[in-house]
């Protein structure tokens, strides 16, 4: 097993060092531009989100324009529409961020809700076909990231923030807009740089003012990507910037980032949104060397996976803002939207 991990780690280093084109690692995903979907613009997509969430709170899917073959997942599990959060949602919250991709006919929503009176964070993806909802994918964050504050799901922090960073909503000047492929490729560098992170990659894809918010909490030092902070010996810290965290080589324990599905590629705003999973294989993958040669043992002690939806604001080929909602799930879980092979692969798809 150790040999296998070494091989994986060596391969990852090789890929980074050799600067192999990301494009060679990317695969085509389902977001095929479609003339029918083009008729549902951003406002139309957002209306579907509002209509959906109102129906959820009313516990009544009967009024929704659903395709006959509609598929619904909650936290990676395929359920009947009307089950799961449909039974327990009690109100909509105040944090709302809609990410539209009229080309793909898809919209992703980050927001807050109330479930049995408690604040929860919600990720919602809808795929619209012929003005009907064809796909519904949700992540409901019900428990906190911090075991000492299990009820803190991040929803209240999101509501304190009020809304997404304004930069996410700013349009990219037409002359600076890039293709969908390029947008996805840049965002995917984040996942590739984190997986088995060794601190030796080219992290120039981070803008100098990059900052990241995870479940409503600031996860990097403000907007100073190079801030070094005062990190404990074996852990990266929120006092560091985006780039400094990666340069530390201390995120190595994220052993695989798989089932990377870029479902929103908004070239107008320069926003890419991916669903994915962060595996922490634990065992001997917890022990690694940092770039300064120090041997560190860190990360979860048992197999651990985050189910995650992560949005990136990309400008001029660099990531300026990152916004994520995630929660723990069974190690190695599939999204319910991928074959097993794609679900276990670290290749990006869109």
């Amino acid at each position: 097993m150790r040999r296998k991990i070494t091989v994986i780690a060596t391969a990852a280093v090789f890929l980074l060092a050799a600067g192999i084109e990301e494009s060679s690692r990317l695969r085509t995903f389902a977001a095929k531009p479609n003339a029918v979907e083009a008729s549902c613009d951003g406002a139309c997509l957002n209306r579907f989100v509002d209509q959906y969430l109102d129906a959820v709170v009313a516990h009544d899917p009967s009024g929704l324009p659903l395709k006959k073959t509609v598929k619904f997942t909650e936290d990676g599990q395929r359920l009947d529409v009307g089950d799961g959060f449909w039974r327990t949602a009690t109100a909509r919250g105040t944090y709302k961020y809609y990410m539209d991709d009229p080309v793909a006919g898809q919209v992703v929503f980050f927001g807050t809700m109330r479930e049995a009176g408690n604040p929860v964070s919600l990720v919602l993806r809808l795929k619209i076909e012929e003005k009907q909802i064809a796909e519904i994918e949700t992540i409901v964050v019900r428990t906190g990231m911090n075991s000492s504050r299990p009820a803190d799901t991040g929803a209240e922090s999101f509501e304190k923030l009020g809304g997404p960073d304004p930069l996410f909503l700013e349009e990219i000047p037409p002359a600076e807009r890039v293709s969908r492929d390029e947008l996805a490729r840049t965002a995917n560098k984040y996942f590739s740089g984190m997986q088995l992170n060794d601190g030796k990659g080219d992290y120039s894809f981070f803008a100098d003012d990059c900052s990241r918010i995870e479940n409503g909490q600031q996860a990097t030092q403000g907007r100073n990507t190079m801030a070094s902070g005062s990190a404990p010996a074996n852990s990266y810290t929120v006092m560091q910037g985006c780039r400094a965290q990666f340069q530390s080589g201390l995120i190595h324990f994220v052993t695989r980032i798989r089932d990377r599905r870029f479902v929103v590629l908004d070239t107008v705003h320069g926003v890419a949104l991916a669903f994915t999973f962060f595996d922490h294989a634990a065992g001997n993958t917890r022990t690694f060397q940092t770039p300064d040669g120090k041997t560190v043992t860190a990360g979860p002690t048992n197999p651990w996976t985050w189910e995650i939806a992560e949005a990136f604001k990309v400008e001029n080929g660099k990531i300026r803002r990152i916004l994520a909602i995630f929660q723990r799930c069974p190690y190695g879980m599939n999204s319910g939207w991928s074959s097993w092979e794609d679900g276990m692969s670290d290749k990006a798809r869109w």
Binding site: M1, Q77, L79, W86, P303
Partner: protein, 361 residues
């Protein structure tokens, strides 16, 4: 339209024939399975479990005799062999409970292990074909509840003797009858209303869940309920006149069901019965207990009392449950369970079978 109906009718008849044939085959003791297992008796099946667990602790699957198409799941997710607990197991534990099915070439196991130095409870199913492991299904119960339970199992040392005792030849029944009796447990718990026929529980029925005795137990158990509230001290006897709002570990198996207070278990899905030991009258089942929450939390007990109880958010237990069946009744019950994701599947069923509450075997 008429033609379409004809096709449907023919299809239905064919399906009935196929299901019937399959039923007959299964009911006959899975002779095909016996042939496939290549004559793997109890010692052989249990030897495979020991070999498997030794390999897990050594983090080395290469030492195992594996079928080419071997499939491995941990907590419902399909992983590559060598991943998951394979990386983190540090030692075998002392508690070992094997359920052998020499006909089907399958073996179930509930036992203790150490993972990164912490105790866990493991439920394991292996399928053996031609002296090779072709299916590996595991449930790893981690966390505080399992840690306490693992210690309790180790203190117990061995499974209750009845699980290991042969039934007198005259009392043995078919695997199908054993499954039917075991399945009554799940059917009666699902949306329990207290009004069913619970005569399938023997008077001496007793249940262990993750090492904790959860029936006839008058010693208060420490810890929290699934809802996060402190576990109340058990009441010694079910008394409908007292209008209880929560079932008690102090009650008998039958009284817990008679109370109608398990109603919040809304759906028990993906019920599989892959391991049946006719000689001992033991059934090893796998399934998921869904708690749909919302409006399903409010129900009426048999005494007409309106109760609101159970988890407030959608909640699922992933469970392996072993039943000792004798004389058409359940005597010993032992389960290993961990919180899954609401509505999740085992990785061994189609979505339709997974979401169904019909038994599969």
């Amino acid at each position: 339209m008429r033609r379409k109906y004809l096709v449907v009718v023919i299809g239905a008849l064919l399906a009935v024939t196929i299901v019937g044939a399959s039923f007959a085959n299964r009911a006959s003791g899975n002779q095909a399975g016996a042939a496939m297992s290549g004559g793997c008796d109890r010692a052989c099946l249990e030897g495979f479990v020991n070999q498997y667990l030794d390999a897990v602790v050594a983090h080395d699957p290469s030492r195992l005799p594996l079928a080419k198409l071997v499939k491995f799941t941990e907590n419902g997710t399909h992983l590559e062999l060598g991943d998951g607990l394979w990386r983190t197991a540090t030692a075998r534990g002392a508690y070992k409970f094997y359920v052998d099915d020499t006909h089907a070439g399958q073996v179930g196991f509930i036992g203790t292990l150490q993972e990164a130095g912490q105790p866990v409870i493991l439920a394991l199913r292996l399928k053996i074909e031609n002296q090779k492991i072709s299916e590996i299904e595991t449930i790893v119960c981690r966390g505080q509840m399992a840690q306490g339970g693992a210690a309790s199992l180790e203190k117990r040392g061995t499974p209750r003797p009845a699980f290991l005792e042969d039934l007198p030849p005259g009392e043995r029944v078919s695997r199908l009858e054993l499954i039917e009796t075991a399945n009554k447990y799940f059917s009666a718990m699902e949306q329990d209303d207290g009004k069913g026929d619970y005569s399938f529980f023997a008077d001496d029925c007793n249940r262990l869940e993750n090492g904790m005795q959860t029936t006839n137990n008058l010693n208060p158990m420490p810890g929290l309920t699934a809802g996060g509230t402190p576990r109340p001290a058990p009441s010694p006897k079910y008394d409908p006149a007292a209008k209880p709002t929560m079932y008690s570990a102090g009650w008998s198996c039958k009284d817990q069901f008679r109370s109608g207070l398990l109603h919040f278990v809304t759906w028990i899905h993906d019920r599989r019965y892959p391991v049946v030991d006719e000689q001992r009258g033991v059934v090893f089942a796998l399934g998921f207990f869904d708690h749909s929450a919302g409006a399903t939390r409010t129900f009426q007990t048999p005494t007409g009392q309106a109760v609101t109880a159970g988890p407030t958010t959608p909640f699922t237990w992933e469970i392996a449950e072993v039943f000792k069946v004798r004389g058409g009744q359940l005597h010993e019950i032992e389960a290993a369970l961990t919180q899954g994701i609401y509505g999740m599947c085992s990785g061994w069923s189609s979505w339709e079978d997974c979401r169904s509450d019909q038994p599969q075997w």
